[in-house]
Structure formats: structure tokens, C-alpha cells
């Protein structure tokens, strides 16, 4: 059994939702039940892969102590950059081990959800250093980390936001509204993931392996559409389920294909991920670069910031040529966008209708080309082309 897949999961989910709905409608707190059900469903899902379950439990044990010890050190010794860097390193270590051990045929520390849970731990560590978080309670933190609707693939919530919802006692009217929205999102998610994305996937199967230009272009578009319905559908189901448990997990997609430039695209596509990177990598890189005057001018700094940011995002997807190229591609595009948007000409035309139409069309094609890289078909086609030549 796996998350949001197969009849068995949805039956367990349906049964699990009933007590949450009863608690919600009776204006009781759902939090403790959420922890209980999360633990239960984790044991059911990881039952077939006991090693992963072991790694998950070990991970939680280690990371909880890391958080508690780091916050203790902040209270005891104050802000210290060196300790902070070590804490970040330790928070990253399991994920790095999981990614790297793949190269030597192992799966050290690898478990379903490690990529996403790492973001949550890092957010707590970094915001503790910033002084926004003082101390995390044990049960809230564990609930945040193992919250089952978003455990395996997000959306990536933030601990301060999560804890507010978690501790909240919803009024009946509010909860009924939340429940209604949640059910709607789940149904929409099912339509996206099990109907529309399946149709797109079927088309992909028919054109895969054809390298004529028109097929490659078609592949890019259909793959982009497939990715959207697949992942937006998954996210909708995860968000809808969260709502039923009284947690307003943030949205992950917002009509990405209407974007008129690449910056707007990353504000609409996999939002919880790109905003995480914006807040915890890009912003930090930029403040550090500006503070220490590491670049000749701010445009150079910003360009490098975008490239580093997206390259790391690519690496996070996986340490393969395709993902690295994908990250680099988007980094360079964002850098070029930044430089371009500082031009006087852009400021003059940006609100004109004709300009927005062209800009939308160009953006859409750049985005679809990005998906072609992501899918692996770009480098594959490239290799075929080189052989042919």
C-alpha cells in the first residue's frame, strides 16, 4: 500500500477520517488523534519495507535531538555561526547519505519521504538561529514531521504555521467549511491524478521513442501536462486530507501555465518547494553576498543567486545529468529574466496587452522545454542526434 494510491489506501483513509470529522464537528481538538492515526498509517504503509521504517524512526530520534540540542545551545550560548553551520550540516547529513550511497549500490538512510522531511527540520533549525523560533515542543514537532497527508511528497508546510492549526479548536461552522473544501480538493485531485494525468501518460507511451522534431515537441508539451496533473493532483489530495484533519496545508500549484515570465512560473509551480528555496537558500545567499560585497554589482550577485538556488533544487530532485541540467537551465533563465527586467524597455512595455501575450507564449515554451530536460528525453534525443550526425 502506498500514499494516495490504490483502493486499500483510500479505504483506510476514509475510515481514518471519520473520527477526525466527528472531533472537528464536536469542536474538539483533532491534534492527538492526528498523531495516533499518522503513526498507525505509517506502520501500515512501511510494513512491507521494514528497513525504511527503521530509518524513519532513527531519523526522527536523531533529528528531534538535533533540534532540541541546537535550541538549547542557542539559549545557553547565543547565536554562534559555527554551531549553526554544524546543525545545518547534521540536518542535511541523512539526505546526503541517502542520495550519495545510491552511487555505490546502497540505500543508507533512504526512506520514503526523507527528501521532504529534511526541509521541515532545516526550516526549524534555520528559524531558530534567526530567533523566530525559541523552543519546539516534542509532540507538536513530531506531529509536524510525521503528519501523514504530506509525509511522502509534500506540500512542504512550515512549523510555526502548522502548530497554530494543530493547537486550534475549530468552531463547528469553520470546520464544516474546511471539511467541505477538503473533500472538494480530494475529489479534484482524484480527477487530476487518476483521469487526466493517466490520459496524458497514455499519450506519452504512444510517442515515446520517436525522435522526429514534431514528436519531441509534442512529448515536451504532453509531459508538462502530465507532470502538472500528476503532481498537482497528488498535492490536492494531500491538502484536502490535511483540511479534514484541521490543518490548512498551503497550496502547491496555482495555474502555472498562465505565467507571463519565469519568476511568475516559480510562484505558481510546486510553490511550497520554490518558496522554501527562496526563503532558506536564495535569500540567505543574497543577504550574505550583499553584506560581504562578494560581487561587483547586485545584478551579478542576483544572477549567481538564481543559478545556485536552482542548481541545488535540481540536485535535490536527484543526482543525475538530467536534473542537474534542468536546475542549471532554470537558474540561467531566472538570471536572464532578472537582467532583462531591469531594462528601461521592459518597464515601458510590461503592462501592454500585446507584450503580455508574447511574453506568455515565450514563457510557456521555455517551461515546456524545461520539462523535456526533466523527462530525460532531451539528453536522449541529443545523444541520438549526435550518433546520427
Amino acid at each position: 500500500m502506498s500514499f494516495y494510491d490504490g483502493l486499500a489506501f483510500f479505504i483506510v483513509l476514509l475510515l481514518g477520517c471519520i473520527p477526525a470529522i466527528i472531533l472537528g464537528m464536536k469542536e474538539k481538538r483533532i491534534g492527538n488523534y492526528t498523531i495516533l492515526f499518522s503513526i498507525g498509517i505509517i506502520f501500515i504503509i512501511y510494513r512491507e519495507t521494514p528497513l525504511e521504517l527503521f530509518y524513519l524512526l532513527l531519523y526522527l530520534f536523531l533529528e528531534w535531538h538535533l533540534i532540541a540540542l541546537y535550541q538549547y545551545s542557542l539559549r545557553r550560548f547565543g547565536r554562534n555561526k559555527e554551531i549553526f553551520h554544524h546543525a545545518v550540516l547534521f540536518a542535511l547529513l541523512p539526505l546526503v547519505m541517502a542520495k550519495l550511497s545510491g552511487f555505490i549500490g546502497h540505500h543508507w538512510f533512504s526512506f520514503l519521504g526523507i527528501s521532504y522531511i529534511t526541509f521541515k527540520v532545516l526550516q526549524i533549525i534555520i528559524e531558530s538561529y534567526d530567533g523566530i523560533i525559541e523552543k519546539n515542543g516534542f509532540s507538536q514537532t513530531v506531529a509536524f514531521l510525521i503528519f501523514f497527508p504530506t509525509l511522502s511528497s509534500g506540500p512542504i508546510d512550515r512549523s510555526r504555521r502548522f502548530e497554530q492549526d494543530f493547537a486550534r479548536r475549530w468552531e463547528r461552522r469553520e470546520y464544516a467549511e474546511l471539511l467541505q473544501k477538503g473533500i472538494w480538493k480530494i475529489l479534484l485531485g482524484i480527477l487530476y491524478k487518476f483521469v487526466l494525468s493517466v490520459i496524458a501518460y497514455d499519450i506519452l507511451g504512444r510517442i515515446n521513442g520517436r525522435y522526429d522534431p514534431q514528436y519531441v515537441i509534442l512529448y515536451a508539451y504532453v509531459y508538462g501536462i502530465y507532470m502538472f496533473f500528476d503532481f498537482a493532483g497528488y498535492s490536492l489530495m494531500a491538502i484536502g486530507t490535511s483540511y479534514i484533519f484541521g490543518i490548512c496545508t498551503p497550496d502547491n500549484f496555482n495555474k502555472p501555465f498562465i505565467s507571463r515570465d519565469m519568476k511568475e512560473f516559480w510562484d505558481r509551480w510546486h510553490i511550497s518547494l520554490s518558496h522554501w528555496f527562496r526563503d532558506f537558500l536564495f535569500s540567505r545567499f543574497m543577504t550574505d553576498a550583499i553584506r560581504n560585497k562578494r560581487f561587483k554589482n547586485r545584478l551579478n550577485a542576483a544572477s549567481m543567486g538564481f543559478i545556485v538556488n536552482m542548481l541545488v533544487m535540481g540536485m535535490w530532485h536527484g543526482l543525475t545529468k538530467d536534473y542537474l541540467l534542468y536546475g542549471l537551465y532554470h537558474g540561467v533563465l531566472l538570471a536572464v529574466t532578472e537582467i532583462y527586467q531591469k531594462k528601461k524597455w521592459y518597464r515601458r512595455v510590461k503592462s501592454k496587452k500585446w507584450y503580455q501575450c508574447i511574453s506568455w507564449f515565450v514563457t510557456l515554451n521555455l517551461v515546456m522545454f524545461g520539462f523535456l530536460i526533466f523527462s530525460g528525453i532531451f539528453l536522449e534525443t541529443w545523444a541520438v542526434l549526435m550518433r546520427y550526425l
Partner: protein
Amino acid sequence: MEEKLLDILERICDDEAVREDLEMDLFEEGLLDSLAIAELIVAVEEEFKVLLSPTEYEKEELSTVHKIEKILKAKGVE
């Protein structure tokens, strides 16, 4: 303080428009973005000796000159 803040914002946004309407939504006008916020954080740190963090405030809390002023006042800037 307001004058200093406006100087900073004018430099970051590269636009005098920030002075015209202190209630104007700087994000909607395309004057502020995540990059500009990073610059603002460093500038505020250097000018007023106040630490801001990128995730401390929601976007809406930083969207106008007046709102930014309010935050700085709350942090003890005179």
C-alpha cells in the same frame, strides 16, 4: 527614520515612485520582490542595526512603506 527608509527603498527599487504614496502595495507595483527584500534586510541591518529575517514576516506585512516602518518601530528603531 522615515526619510532614511525612503532613501533605502528608492535605491533598492530604483524608482522615486516609492515616495509618492506610502500606502502603495510595493509588490503589486513590481517594485519589491524576494531579491529586493534580501537587499532591504541588509540595508536595514546596516542603517538601523536591526536584524530582520526573510521568513519573519509574511509578504503582506511588508507590502507598503508604512507597514515596513511599523515593523521597524516595533523593533525599537526611532
